[in-house]
């Protein structure tokens, strides 16, 4: 058929096009194809799951197994690896302490791990305080602007992480906004960089959406009628929130806290860029052992121990607030 319509009118052209389209869509070949796929939906689903699984196995499990293997090998001179089974690396990570004749420093890995966990907890606490209200507000909001507001929450994800940390360095730096404000108030210009507060504030700024979104999600699911009936029964808004909304929003809070905690404890860029000399975190230590130390077996043992600690913590958390119930709900 010639693609050109007889007349120039757009209306006729559109009609013709619709006719062609329905003919194409209803063509026996295509219909059969669709039927065939519908009949084999299960096969398709399996295939898709297979691709995902394959991806996980190749790019997550295989490297992890490699690291596990490495962690039981000896390290030779100048960063070489000797394929002899040893528990030395785990001993070095968990037990050995750095000591000289006159003083005892303690075990560096455990020191840094403890410091990372503390960082993780403070970041999680601050993020929760700052993130709950916006999350709750968005979840209860019926505004036309809701999609725009949600877009604002995820907007930072479009900017690469390293750029955001550098921007944060400019905010906190000697010639930055905060320094300018402090001069205005009469405290003189000063830098707020290279300390614990800079690391925590940088992480909070980056991880806030991970707290807001799960909270928004669970608050949005709360039925209005529940809150209304609480008010009908004579509860003031504060009590209605405390008795109804707050408990029902907890799944989101828990999910947000876990996400933020894991991401904060494992953060690498924030301490590297914003932290001072003493603000080492576990990812920095592992990277340093791996690259600068050229000690792959030891760095691998550190990684495995770190994974195990996180796993144990989350499992313990799971015992307290049954995660399965939280994530297992299908609505």
């Amino acid at each position: 058929m010639s693609g050109q319509p007889e007349t120039g009118s757009g209306r006729e052209y559109a009609d013709q096009w619709l006719a062609v389209r329905s003919r194409i869509l209803n063509a026996p070949v295509l219909m059969n194809g669709v039927q065939w796929f519908k009949a084999r939906k299960r096969v398709l689903a399996t295939a898709q799951a297979g691709i995902g699984l394959f991806w996980m196995v190749v790019f997550l499990l295989a490297p992890l197994l490699y690291i596990l293997t490495l962690s039981f090998w000896e390290s030779g001179t100048a960063g070489t690896i000797v394929q002899e089974f040893t528990l030395e690396n785990y001993y070095a990570v968990l037990v050995e302490s750095v000591s000289l004749s006159s003083f005892d420093v303690g075990n560096i890995f455990l020191l840094v791990l403890w410091q990372s966990l503390k960082f993780g907890l403070s970041v999680t606490a601050v993020t929760l305080v700052l993130g709950y209200v916006p999350g709750y507000f968005l979840g209860r909001s019926e505004s036309r602007w809701l999609p725009v507001l949600l877009l604002l929450v995820v907007l930072p994800f479009w900017v690469p992480l390293i750029v955001r940390y550098y921007a944060w360095m400019l905010v906190l730096g000697e010639n930055g906004v905060i320094s300018w404000l402090s001069e205005l108030v009469g405290f003189g210009s000063q830098s707020f960089l290279y300390n614990e507060i800079a690391v925590v504030s940088g992480l909070v700024q980056v991880l806030l959406p991970f707290m807001i979104l799960p909270i928004y999600n669970s608050v949005a699911k709360i039925e209005d009628s529940l809150i209304e009936s609480a008010k009908t029964m004579g509860a003031n808004p504060v009590r209605a929130f405390y008795e109804v909304s707050l408990p029902l929003s907890l799944p989101g809070v828990v999910a947000g806290c876990i996400l933020v905690f894991i991401l904060a404890v494992g953060s690498f860029l924030a301490p590297a860029l914003l932290g001072g000399p003493g603000d080492q975190m576990i990812a920095n230590l592992i990277e340093r052992t791996f690259l600068r130390g050229q000690n792959w077996p030891l760095a691998s043992a550190m990684s495995i121990v770190y994974l195990a600690v996180l796993f144990v913590m989350i499992t313990a958390f799971n015992r307290f607030v049954s995660l399965d119930e939280l994530f297992g709900e299908g609505n």
């Binding site: 000289l100 000697e174 010639n175 830098s191 690259l291 130390g293």
Partner: protein, 366 residues
Amino acid sequence: MARHSRRRFVQRTGALSAVGVAALSGCLGGGDGGDTLGLYSWGGSTQEALMEHIADPFEEEYDVEVEATSFDNQDSMLSNVRTSPEGSYDIIMPSAERTYEAVQQDLVEPIRTENIDTWDNLFPVFQDLSLDPGDDAHVAPLYYGTIGMVYNTDYVDTSSPPSWELLWDAEYEDRITVQDMAMLRVFTTALHLGLDPNTLESDGSYEDGLEMVYDAMAEQHDLVRTYWGSGQEQVTQYQEESSYVGTGWGGRILALQDEGYDQLEYAIPEEGAKGWSDMLAIAKGSENRELAEQFIEFAYQDEIIQELAPDIGYPPATGVETDEIEALPDFDPSGGEGLLFEDPEFIDEHEDEWMDTFEAIKMGEY
């Protein structure tokens, strides 16, 4: 010693873990004489200078193609070469600090100096480098420098020549920046204390000397504003006047002076400074070994290296001299004899412990 199979295992799984393998086209005929040379070098302005002054004219003269990839620090370079299949690169660029590891980890081929007519242009120090293990040469030094002192003359009045003492001067509290590397902290602190940085012995005792070094590092830590990691961080510290005095690289400070930061000065303190050098080396399993040797031979020609070195900001490792070269901050009139190189075996033996203690010092646990 399952060395060979270890490398294979590391490479296979390394490839699986995908650490960015650059599959460079070698000549499939095998043997020497391919027509593409894979050059894995420092990035940024160094790479630009290498391309402009060596690679481009080399391509012209030999009718070959140089494929350039770059790294931004020695540690990731080592890891990348280690996890890439043999033959991925022809020429890599280890620095003094990683030559020992590159050789021990079997990442480089010996250089057949008899194939390099210009080899004798090198200063004797660089022909038989103390930190290159074994009898063979594995590295071909291009240019050298020191890890010296940077100071801002607007804030620091320095007697001439300056001393490392400044980095322990409470007057500059929170205005001092030094490099974030345990090995360098130990080395430089030893120089400051008047110890031999390659034995640390105080009255014949390594332990006593080390303890003096640690104490001084902890003392300095209280004055340090930040420990810089990359060259860029170093530049930012001095450029924005976050720090007034610290350690640094002459070439970077030269570049800053050229941009108009006249208040910044670079000096080698009277107690001495650690020397370094950037080198070319032929990657293990290179299918273009002969072409790589020709590349080194080509680079050592006076007319090539005398243009390259000043552009990068460091004096060349060969005997060529021009006014421009003699004016460089790191220029050593004795032909490299004055450079203090580290003893890699000594460092390899103790570095883990130094790193741990430095970590503890930084965390205020010392």
